[in-house]
Symmetry: C2
Subunit: 318 residues, 2 copies
C-alpha cells in the first residue's frame, strides 16, 4: 500500500479561475480581504488574477494592485496568469513570484481560446523566458498544460500530445509544469497514468495538478495524483468557476473540501479548515446569485472531527 | 503502484436507502420499471426494499411484491433490509437471495434508531441465523456495520468497537459483513485504514462498502476501499437518500457517477452508464420536488468518452 506525502500545497485560484467566469466584479477591497483571510487561514500560494486586457476581463483589471497587496504578506507566494509575453512583462514589472502560462494540448481549444496553435504558444513561452532572463526578473515561469485529459471541442487529446507539449514547454524554458483537466473530463485512471508518465519526463519540475469537478471526480483525481507523487493542487474557494457555456457544470475542486480530505488523509496543508469555511461563508454575500459548490459548505464538519462541529446540523440525528 | 481489481459490483440501494427517506410513495409499477431498467443496464444486485412495519415506512410496504418481481430476472441478486428476526422471517418466506441486517457500531445511534444496543442486535443476528438454518432457507445473511466512521449523535466511533461488532456479527453467523459510512463522515484515510484492518479479520467475508456523499468524499472513499481490496459497493441512482434531519446533505454515492469512475479506472462493472443515465433521467418525474445528486446527471458524459456524448452541453466550448 503506497503511502502518501506528508505535506501538500493547496493553491487558491478562485480569485482568477473562479472570478474570471463570474459576471460580478468583486471590488478590490473585497479581493484584498479574501487574500488576507485566506492567508490567515494558512494558505501560502494564491493566484490573484490575470494580466489580460481589461476590456476582455474587467473582473480582473485590478491584478497589479492585488499583487502589490499580496506581496506584503510574509511568505505568501503570489502568482498571476498571463496569456502571452505582454502579460508576462506586466508580471515582471510588479514582481509577481510566479506567472502561469496556459498551454492547451488541444489544438482546437488553443485556437478557440487564444487564436494560436500550441506550437505558437510554445514559441511565446521561449520569448517569455528570454525576456525574464534579460530583465533580471526572478518571477518563476510555470506552464499549465490545459485540456490535458480531453477537450470539449475536439474530444480526445492524446497522452502523446500532452507529453510532447509538456516537454516542449520545458525545452522552451519553463521552470515548472503542471497538468490541468480544464473541462472536467479526467477520471482517476487517466490521472494516475498520465501523471506517472509526465513525472518520468519532467521529474520534480512537474509540480501542479489542476482539476475541475464537473463530473464529481476532482477529489478522487487528487487521490490518484497524490499516488503519482504530486504535492501541489489548484483549488477554488466554494468551487467557483466553471464554464459559462456549460450550465450546471461545477468549477474547480473546492479548496475547503480538498483541504478537509488531505488533512483527513494525514497530508498536512498548513490550512485551518474552520477558518477557510468561515471565509467561504462570505461568498454568498460577495457573489450574489452565483452557484457555489463544495460539500462542506452545505454539510459542515463532522461532529467527530478534531476541529469540532462548526455546523449545528451535523450534530442532529440522521 | 497498486493495481485495482478488474471487476466490481455496484449494488443499487436507491429503492431502499433512497426511497425510505423520501416522502413520495413510488407506485409498485414504477419500482418494477426501475428494477427492470436497472437490470437491462447491467445491474445484477438490487436491494429492493425493507421488511419493516408498513405503518413506519409506507414507502416500502410493497417489498414482498418487488422481491417476487425481481426474482424473475435471471441472474439478478435480490436483497432486502431487515431490522430484526420478524423481518428476516419475511425475507425467508419470499426467498430473497440475501438480507441485510444493519448493526450500528455507535451505541447511541443503535438506541435511537432501533431501541436496541449493538449487543442486542448481535443476539438478534444469531437468532436470524438459527431461524434461517432451521427453515432450510438459502437466503444469505449480510450484516452492515453502520456508523462505522463516526456518528452524528455520539461523534467518534472507535475502530476497536467497529471491529468488535464485525467480529461478533461473524461469530453470530453472518455470511458476509460490510462497513457503512451511514452519516457521511468518512475520508479516504480512515477508509483505507479501517477496511485494511477489517479485511485482516474477516477475509473474503468482508464484502461491501457503503458510502454517503454528504461531504463530497464518496468517490474518493471508493478509491481508497478499492485499494484495500473491496470489490462491491452500494450506491443509489441520482444519489437519492440522505437524511431528513440534515437538510442539504447528500445521500448515497450516485450509482451513475460511481459506475463512470470505476469504468474509467478499468474496473469493469458490467453496467452501461448511458442506459443508467437514461433511467436516472426519469427520476425528476418520478420523484417530483426531490433534490437529486450526482454530477453526470447535470454535466453528461465527456465528449471523449468511449460511449460518446449523451448531453449536447458537453460538446460546447468551455
Amino acid at each position: 500500500m503506497k503511502s502518501f506525502p506528508t505535506r501538500a500545497i493547496v493553491r487558491e485560484v478562485g480569485l482568477r479561475d473562479g472570478l474570471q467566469s463570474i459576471r460580478t466584479i468583486l471590488p478590490t477591497a473585497r479581493k484584498c480581504e479574501w487574500i488576507r483571510r485566506a492567508y490567515e487561514a494558512g494558505q501560502r500560494e494564491i493566484e490573484v488574477g490575470s494580466f489580460v486586457p481589461a476590456r476582455l476581463m474587467p473582473q480582473l483589471a485590478d491584478t497589479a494592485e492585488l499583487v502589490a497587496y499580496a506581496k506584503r504578506l510574509p511568505g505568501l507566494v503570489v502568482s498571476v496568469l498571463v496569456p502571452n509575453l505582454k502579460g508576462a512583462e506586466r508580471a515582471f514589472e510588479v514582481q509577481a513570484h510566479a506567472l502561469l502560462v496556459p498551454l492547451s494540448a488541444s489544438r482546437a481549444h488553443s485556437l478557440a481560446n487564444l487564436r494560436r496553435t500550441p506550437d505558437e504558444v510554445i514559441a511565446e513561452i521561449a520569448r517569455i523566458r528570454s525576456a525574464r532572463d534579460a530583465s533580471g526578473s526572478r518571477t518563476r515561469i510555470e506552464v499549465g498544460i490545459s485540456t490535458a485529459f480531453g477537450c470539449t471541442i475536439q474530444g480526445e487529446v492524446t497522452q502523446q500530445e500532452v507529453l510532447r507539449c509538456m516537454q516542449a514547454a520545458l525545452d522552451a524554458g519553463a521552470d515548472r509544469v503542471g497538468l490541468a483537466d480544464t473541462v472536467g473530463y479526467a477520471g482517476p485512471g487517466a490521472v494516475r497514468a498520465l501523471f506517472e508518465k509526465a513525472r518520468g519526463i519532467a521529474g520534480q519540475a512537474l509540480a501542479c495538478a489542476h482539476f475541475h469537478d464537473t463530473r464529481g471526480l476532482a477529489l478522487a483525481n487528487v487521490y490518484a495524483a497524490l499516488e503519482a507523487g504530486i504535492e501541489r493542487f489548484d483549488a477554488s474557494l466554494g468551487g467557483i468557476g466553471g464554464c459559462p457555456h456549460a450550465p450546471g457544470a461545477s468549477g474547480n475542486a473546492s479548496s475547503e473540501d480538498l483541504v478537509f480530505m488531505l488533512e483527513e488523509m494525514g497530508v498536512h496543508t498548513g490550512i485551518d479548515v474552520e477558518r477557510l469555511l468561515a471565509l467561504r461563508a462570505q461568498l454568498p454575500a460577495w457573489l450574489p446569485g452565483e452557484t457555489l459548490h463544495g460539500a462542506l459548505g452545505r454539510a459542515g464538519l463532522p461532529k467527530s472531527s478534531a476541529t469540532g462541529a462548526s455546523n449545528p446540523l451535523a450534530s442532529e440525528i440522521q
